[in-house]
């Protein structure tokens, strides 16, 4: 086999009927990069036998772990929303467009109706298969005007796919520079009150970290028994034009409000039957808000980070995706 390039690779996914039972991929996701890997706690024996180095090795417990990055595409994002500690509701279609709404729940691991993923990776025409994959962390960010997502994923086991696989590709449905608007609410709660879009945000990164890890229990298998979720941490960071002291005062006063990023095709409102994504934190407070004098010719900006907080009788965050894809 000659050497290969990343561009020749492919990632395919399929929701599993039974978590951890590998299934051949049916949806091919155009990614930017991935680094799924086999992670093993290998055992090296430190027996004392008149030698001063380890004397044996045994295979240990293992799991799959890695990051996958792609430009947010409404054809594919819903598959990954199901594969985490989310309750997903699907409504529609309205003019052929379904709305998927994912909100957090308190499950300790993925169970029905959430759906784990089988993931196939084709690297230099060589197949890898991973089963029981779930998303431990989502990081949405706008890079060069395009909404991207990086997900940290964990899986139960590695499989050897029979193949051959023949990827089929959809036309890109990216959310570009004219798609985005950021709104800060005047209050917080289950349905914060949003007014006009803000024009001050220079960058936006939202991280939802379920702090997932692989759990191995004693059984006649080395693969992970399940993927556990721990505390959910919701955080954002951005840079803001520093034009008055309002937000600084909000930081000092721990003012709590809602915030959302709407990204829609064709610069229309998110409510329309158009592909798009809405990322909404229903209650946040600034964690840091730093403003200083930069260099001679640089704009005075404020670097801000914030943290999401639970909402009584509501959801701490909501991820909405409008898509023509109909996941059953």
């Amino acid at each position: 086999m000659p050497v290969g390039l990343g561009g020749g690779g492919a990632i395919g996914i399929k929701h599993e009927a039974v978590m951890g039972t590998y299934e051949d991929p049916t949806v091919w996701v155009p990614i930017l990069s991935e680094n799924f890997r086999y992670v093993e706690a290998r055992y090296f024996s430190p027996q004392l036998r008149q030698q001063v180095m380890v004397s044996d090795v045994k295979q240990g417990y293992y799991h799959i772990e890695g990051d996958i990055t792609f430009e947010v595409d409404t054809n594919f994002l819903p598959y990954f929303l199901y594969a985490s500690r989310h309750t997903v509701t699907k409504t529609g279609p309205v003019a052929g467009v379904y709305t998927y709404k994912a909100v957090p729940n308190k499950m300790a691991s993925v169970g029905a109706p959430a759906k784990s993923l089988s993931i196939a990776a084709i690297r230099n025409d060589i197949l890898f298969g991973y089963a029981g994959c779930v998303v431990g962390q989502y990081e949405f960010t706008i890079t060069d005007g395009v909404l991207r997502i990086m997900m940290n994923m964990l899986g139960l086991s590695e499989n050897t796919p029979a193949g051959p696989y023949t990827p089929s590709w959809s036309n890109p449905d990216l959310l570009g520079a004219d798609a985005h608007a950021v709104f800060v609410a005047s209050d917080f709660g289950a349905t914060p009150t949003f007014g006009a879009a803000s024009n001050d945000f220079n960058g936006f990164t939202l991280t939802i970290n379920h702090n997932a890890d692989a759990q191995n229990r004693i059984r006649k298998q080395r693969s992970a028994s399940y993927i556990a979720f721990h505390e959910t941490e919701i955080a954002f960071n951005t840079e803001l034009d520093f034009v008055d002291k309002t937000e600084y005062n909000n930081f000092v006063a721990t003012t709590q409000r809602g915030m959302k990023l709407e990204s829609t095709q064709g610069a229309v409102a998110f409510a329309a039957a158009t592909d798009g994504v809405k990322l909404q934190i229903n209650r946040f407070a600034y964690e840091t808000y730093d403003v200083s004098l930069p260099g001679l010719g640089d704009i005075v900006m404020a670097g801000a980070t914030g943290r999401g907080i639970s909402v009584a009788g509501g959801d701490a965050y909501e991820i909405h995706c409008k898509s023509t894809v109909n996941i059953v």
Binding site: D24, T26, V27, N75, G96, P164, T166, P167, S168, W169, S170, N171, T324, V325, N326, I327, V328
Partner: protein, 72 residues
Amino acid sequence: MKLKFDHPDFPKDHAFSIDGLGTFENGKSREVTEEQEAAFAGLRGLSTKEAFEGNEYVTLEGAAASKKGGES
């Protein structure tokens, strides 16, 4: 030979492209020319039939017996 792509998750007119074979509209079958079959075999080292045998969402009509890649 005709190839039909029918993925239940995607709308009926959704376009899928397959290297060497071109674009297919979801839910419809389309003739695959000998040239396209040869191009596909050259890229994949597999015949179209071999590549899609057992594929859940792709059906082939009028496919000849499997041929190894590169042959056309």
